[in-house]
Symmetry: D3
Subunit: 136 residues, 6 copies
């Protein structure tokens, strides 16, 4: 059970409804998922978070599916069950195939392993990587 | 200073040199970065990890650059300095522009925020997300 | 199901009962929560952990509610479900309002985001922050 | 070295300068710290993050110092060096004494320990904590 | 529900069955646990991961039980429920007593606490520890 | 630079000196490492943490070296530089060979990988693991 009461559309204030309407219009769905219903306990938190997610996830130099897969990578590493489930669903809706999902997981798994090895052995950053490939 | 002695090509055993040669050939570079020189303290660890990384990072359903950006997402979330620097350099070499990097960071930052919010409010997974978008 | 058998008051040794009694007396409750019943498999672990928690959570330069909210911040970032639920309940008992809870989550969420950004861009610590505000 | 070029005030676009000006005015300082200079590589990221931090850190149901200490708790748990240093400095400026800092650390340390114990023993959430203290 | 369909022995391809057979032969069991059934969605991921786990967990300079306990330590710190449960079961099968489990948890808990304290106070590494005990 | 002033033996209060003396006597060394000098800013934190570490690290059902390696496993997963360096040095002093260190790292790396895979695929715990091997 969530630690706060979820706010349904019917009981929502006009300010909250406006965000809910924008979520449904932007995503072309007719329902609001629990994440937003929980954030609605503080309308400013709801509005700011939704506007941020909307802005960040809009296709730009990276396409929408790539962004969803990055979202999944972070959520897996943080072990956020809600986010893994919702963004895996979101990525599928945007075209992620089973092959793409399993390759994504293979990379996420490998990265978690080599992160541990690099930290565990306290490996010094090579001179060539110190500028992370920036021209300088 | 690394917790183990880095093994240079000159002092490496034939088994280790074989892996080093494959790394340089595969990446079309003429040097070995510290990560592999540390893993070489256990040749089996070096070989297995390199073969895994090579296999995982080969373009498949996901292209090489997308895989590098996923690697970065995990490394940032785990805060592995070595990995952030080396894979940011790697992604640039594969074509990541400054715009792509800043969009990548924007998604990684937002995902870390909403992961915390979903966990913090202990939000229940919506029925629609429970199958993570799988046909069933 | 816990990985160890929970030890109920009735079956507890005198050493464990003494800690259980102190927990109930200190918290003014008439039951023991599962956390302590699990730790009781090693009486020394139970005693040491309880004495530590008791000492640390006693109001000092920081009041009891602030300490509970700090506890929640850590538990959310680590995603400890047990701890999020028990300490959110504990903080409410000590006076945390719904407004305080949602502001707390807003800060925790924002901090997780900017932590990722600072690490992701590998931002150097400014000279002025190097002493973390200490007189020197 | 940061993975992106820091943008100094002199070379900044009008859009970025506007945010820099607001940061200096809000914080009553005459310089911009590296975090914002890195985010400025993407003006939308800079603006959104600053507006978010400003909104979240404004005193409300929680005072400014409590919010800073929550920020520190998260940053320590994530091990973000930049954030630990900058927010410890920020908290001191807002009145955090050495006693408060050491009590804060004592709580953060204890929470990290008991989080591990609760997860490690896979302790079930007590019925009484399932609603996290909410009226229901 | 897993985000991918679990692949049962009966429906598995010859390539997957070969790995399943090796898992059962190596572990002297007559069933396959869900972890491998999920990885089987990508036979290369299944094969590589199993071969890696098999190689790593083979007794060498460290015995099998010590390796299982190290696996648990990592799984607890990452809060991987599946892994905590399966490796605690695995360690018991290899001889871990209740006393050993509770001592293991005591160390894991304490390490998580002192990790937070060392990071929180940003303590400099002593000269004597800089070489991590290596002869040099 | 640490966020608090390190307290040297010469300037320490009798209460702090008593702990310092016990640390040196227990470890058979003639110096105090920075970790304790930082914790000494709050004598109660110093005393409690030292007593806890001393109690936990005393050989019992697990020997001293196994405990050090568990400590390293957690520290690597949390990426605590101070702790990785100090406990790797500590483990070496207690007899950890280069072979043991590299096997330890191989297990820690593999566990971090499979943790991510189990979480990423949201794999259900098998019935047989639900009791984590407990008799029931």
């Amino acid at each position: 059970m969530a630690t706060v009461g979820l706010i349904e559309y019917e009981e929502a204030s006009p300010e909250v409804r406006q965000v809910y309407d924008d979520i449904m219009a932007t995503r072309k769905v007719d329902w609001i998922n629990n994440f937003w219903k929980a954030l609605a306990v503080q309308p400013a938190l709801l509005r700011r978070t939704w506007n941020g997610v909307k802005e960040v996830m809009t296709p730009g130099a990276l396409d929408a599916l790539t962004k969803e897969m990055i979202y999944i990578s972070v959520s897996v590493t943080n072990n956020c069950e809600y986010c893994i489930n919702s963004h895996t669903a979101g990525a599928r809706k945007k075209g992620m195939s089973e092959e793409m999902l399993s390759e994504l997981m293979a990379v996420v798994g490998m990265a978690n392993q080599t992160n541990a090895l690099a930290n565990g052995f306290q490996i010094e950053i090579d001179e060539a990587f110190r500028n992370s490939g920036r021209d300088s």
